[in-house]
Symmetry: C2
Subunit: 289 residues, 2 copies
């Protein structure tokens, strides 16, 4: 748990950061994947696991498969950051690179052929429950939080957090941070109808390009969660703050919550705020000259 006197002064709030960048595989995804892979029956586990991912979920499933001692294949989009490809490879998974539009169908075809269990990055209740343990730990240490800010991509982290908070801190308001450029979750909650993916999905926050899952949408809608959208420049500013002032490397997706917090401004004055920084796997190509 980290704090920043600068942020507290800027917002006149008390802010605690949960750095999932220091988590195994450098991201919260280790939580959900481990929960899902360790929950498999012996029979299913013996046929291995398969996943598709822009990076962190792939590393997480590969890591979880190593713990369980089973085979793992990860489909990744061509153009994924080198550091993320290396990480998945480092955990001993077999990697298949395909174009992003055919990522899901290629993975499902391979799963059908091999009998391996497909571990969805977010539309999987074991994954969602696992991701919620980050918020559980934060609330164990800080039960008095008024707001909790998470990034929103597929929605596994925020929906797990909402379920955890509903038990541990029913008064807590969960806020999702989403890039303006891929604002499907914002529009889904605004219209009450699950919106399709923004295409082409394009944001510096490469971990948040995925469309909000149906399961996550149901949880978000029922909980009256708010989404705050942030610009590309606000995301970069926040990532720079984490790096230069807090001395921690955060990937752009993980910096979106700090960007959203700053946009909230006086809304959080006087409040206790928790921020989940989702991961730290990045090539640094977002650094200004």
């Amino acid at each position: 748990m980290f704090t920043s006197a600068t942020i507290d002064r800027e917002l006149e709030a008390s802010v605690v950061f949960k750095f999932e960048s220091f988590q195994k595989v450098g991201a919260f995804k280790a939580r959900g994947a481990t929960n899902a892979v360790l929950s498999l029956t012996e029979d299913a586990a013996s046929r291995g696991v398969i996943a598709h991912s822009s990076g962190n979920h792939g590393a997480a499933v590969a890591y979880a498969a190593t713990i369980r001692g089973i085979e793992c294949t990860v489909f990744m989009p061509t153009g994924a950051p080198r550091i993320k490809i290396d990480a998945v490879e480092g955990y001993g998974a077999r990697i298949v690179l395909v174009d992003r539009p055919v990522l899901a169908e290629s993975t499902h075809a391979a799963a059908a052929e091999s009998g391996a269990t497909f571990i969805h990055p977010y539309e999987n209740v074991d994954v969602m429950a696992g991701q919620g343990t980050a918020a559980m730990e934060l609330l164990d240490d800080h039960p008095d939080l008024d707001f909790l800010i998470c990034p929103v991509g597929g929605g596994g982290l925020i929906s797990g957090s909402i379920v955890a908070a509903s038990e541990l801190a029913p008064h807590l308001v969960v806020i999702g941070a989403e890039p303006e450029r891929v604002d499907d979750a914002y529009r889904s909650l605004r219209t009450g109808i699950h919106q399709p993916a923004v295409l082409p999905a394009d944001s510096i926050a490469d971990g948040l390009l995925t469309v909000l899952g149906e399961k996550a949408f149901d949880i978000l809608r029922a909980s009256h969660t708010e989404i705050v959208t942030v610009s590309e420049a606000q995301i970069v500013d926040a990532a720079l703050f984490h790096l230069q002032r807090m001395k921690t490397l955060v990937e752009p997706s993980g910096a979106a919550p700090l960007a959203a917090l700053r946009r909230l401004g006086s809304v959080v004055a006087g409040a206790n705020v928790g921020v989940i920084v989702s991961g730290g796997n990045t090539d640094l190509d977002w650094l200004p000259e």
Copy 2:
């Protein structure tokens, strides 16, 4: 306290890192400066304090002066990293930029004129004692350390660490990490005679350009401390490891201990090693393309 499974595997050792980059002002220097400034008599304090610094000590004295509510002037070398100048300014100190060769004499002249107390960055027993509290905290948590590795510049951190370790862990071997390019401490201990500064002092580890202090030399020599020198490339590799694998921003001076640890290689196999990462204030201009 942080660990890295990758480093433990690489060295077959158990390594704990103390990140002073997360300290106030982003470096261990906050410890010594605070101890020295808070130890001043009321009368001395009323005339303010003055310091010279390539950056971290200046920010630390400015920070300590703010705590005590007294005036502070910091002389800095022209060409100091912008981020360090900004930090000193941010604590409300008056900054005077002069060329590095006349840094000390300009500061002393200004101190004589104003009556402000000069706070030396390392040839000051209150400063040295304050710096030693980093090792004290590390040894409180890990009393079983066999080795402790610190960077060596002026020698305040390592001499404070040696004194702390001599009380708390008499069996502990303290190792200094020094850039090959400014290896005066290495040559001083090797010859038994205090060596003059390497001129021109030039290393990417800008916090370690200062010559080893006389007081520190006496403490190092009496304790049979070893110095391991490291190349510029080894320092950059270590800083990259801290950034990419441990997700923490470390300045090159702060990465020198990890570089030295890797050079020690099999010497530390099976041992418990503590590493003091001295600071995290850097412009990132050492990042490879």
